[in-house]
Amino acid sequence: MTETNTSALNPSGDPIRVGVYVCHCGGNISDIIDTKAVAAELAGHPNVAVSNDYMFMCSDPGQALIIDDIKANHINRVVVAACSPTLHELTFRKALHRAGLNPYLFEHVNIREQASWVHKGDHEGATRKAVRLVAAGVEKVVRQDELFPIKVGVEPHVVVVGGGVAGMSAAVALAGRGLGVTLVEKGVALGGRVADLDRVYPTEERGADLVQDLTRQVGGHSRIDVRLGSEVVGLDGHVGKFAVTVRASSVASEDQDRLVRAGAIVIATGFDHYRPAQGEHGFGESPAVITLPDFQSALRQCPASQTSLQANGRSVRSVAFIHCVGSRQIDGVHAPQADGKVNDYCSRTCCTATLHTIRQVQSRFPDVDVYDLHKDIRTYGRGHEAYYEEASRAGALFFRFPDDEPPTFAASTGGKCAGTITTRDILTWGEELEIPVDLVVLATGMVPRDIASLIDLRKLPVGADRFLQEVHPKLRPVEIGVAGILLAGACQGPMDINEACTAAQTAAVKAAILLANPTIELDPFVAVVDGERCDGCEKCLAECEYKGALTMADLQLAGATVRRAVVNPAMCVGCGACVAACPPRAVNVAGWTLDQFDAMVDAIVAEDVGALAHTECRAGVRHIEFAVISGGN
């Protein structure tokens, strides 16, 4: 690892000369605040070389004032007191840049939204406040270093983990974009769960056709390297430069491991069907109770010529479907899962899948009586509601059971039917019903695949529902807490096919953004460590939530090897949690140092601007050269 902390003087080596510019904002500020007085008072600050007021600082002539002063008056720090920085901070940074000054040697002081507009009745108070705020701005900017964006080189390659429809969609999208892809699939073929499906709702396409379509597209891309029967067993590095170890399960020896360098990783490991507990609605106790996926595959194998539905050697005259098996579970009613928790989430797809299957039964075997036992019918998607309506119209009977009273099934021996379902029906005012049935189909939900080994490689965040947890469930749905690792499909939560494909393509676009250029430019506002102040106490490490952002390393300092905290700017988010924990103040967030804040407080409490101390040329951490490191070890 190389990280150079160049101790330099002011860029030009000149003494610090601050230019202060106080904006009238066409009266918005100057009607309340005496802008001329503010400028005059600031002229008395020992570091201020130029102090002016002006009608509209954001106008072209206003910006020209600053540029001229930088060029002609050797101004090397700028403070503008005007509206909110959210409006014009960038405008002025660009002006500095045009004048050849590092754009970060600028401080924007808000004396409009947070002063003149909110202290209309107190001209004197508002003016005094403005003086203090501008002085604080000056104190901050004299302690400001030049900053440069952090550049990280990238590998234009993505590893996609999982070869179901989500993984294949992501791979096809990325390859189409011109990126290399390694598609890692644990099984012997691509296609995942969709390959098991007969027809899919609401388009009535064949699952096999969808898979074939995607497989053909994957095969058609020379940029996609498909690794079947393989798993990811190693994951090092960081966004832009991951090192992924892919191991073929058929090969026993470790030296067959393949190291893939990738700029981003897409996880598309999918889901498992919920397996009902022994005795759950009679499951495992009677052959008449089966899961929806098993029933679907039985239907698929049943020849089109067959006119009656057969199960367990008998003709099925009535079938009951029970919703929410393994989903929407309630503590104390349902048996907990291995982690001690119940599956309290909705599995999203089972309602429509059940009604879609009911429609298939009704159209192939019109004489079969269909019962649907549900909590709520959640046919939310486009075209889904029609299945509900058609099933109802074709004679399916719907019963709504209370959340905490799941229906029970009792097999009958030698009776006319396979057994009896007992349920309470809310729709008929809580009446208890007994329904004789030949077959019970359990609409089982989704549970996450066991990907513990993958999760452990990078401590990937997992939610209370055991699915992978995105950064923000609303705004950043396909990103996970580790930059450069993206989520696609049901590894994140229950989804149907089009939702999984959509998520996959979104994951692809996020990867494409990261890898669009040979380098990623990151904001310079990350933690920096002053190697001379750091005493290697490691207190900061415990504060950092971002794995790999802050580590200890042996550095050469004045001929001796010392252990110091080092920041990986590609992984640091600049929150500053480490800053507070550092006794010698060796770590700071660039652009927001504690010395700056202390000096700002000094300016706020100072009685007189002129009494503030003159600050000499700064020395400290400057230009952060981040040489890309490989691996995280």
Binding site: S84, T86, N110, R112, E113, Q114, A115, W117, V118, H119, K120, G121, D122, E124, G125, A126, R128, K129, R132, L133, A136, G481, F525, E543, E545, Y546, V573, G574, C575, G576, A577, V579, A580, A581, C582, V589, W592, L594, F597, D598, M600, V601, D602, I604, V605
Partner: protein, 132 residues
Amino acid sequence: MSPEDDLKILIITTMISSYPGANTVGQARLQYSPGTFIVRVPDPVMFPEEFYLDSFAKGIDGIIIMSSGSDCPYEGAYPRLSKRVGRVYARMKEQGIDTSRLKLTTICTVCKAAFLKEIREMQQNILKAKAA
């Protein structure tokens, strides 16, 4: 001038929520005392306990930390901040500084009324503490 205006209240705001929240108050032209000094930070979690104690020693009368609360974009930052503020309170007690002079709260980008209420309450607290 009212006694409130003579106070120096430091308001620490976050880039993501309370700083724009303070702007919203301005856009609505709601009025408060000029003895208020708003500084913005990526996240107040960066300040060590000493920062608060030193600021009081320098002559700051009250500090309101307007955090982003659950909107905070940084992993684990809010719980750390709130723990640290707890420790600052303990040290304030030790040093005989009235603890009502420090307040940790959450202000969103459009929390106008809450913003004004925090300032008003802080002023009252400080004046009460001074009178005592």
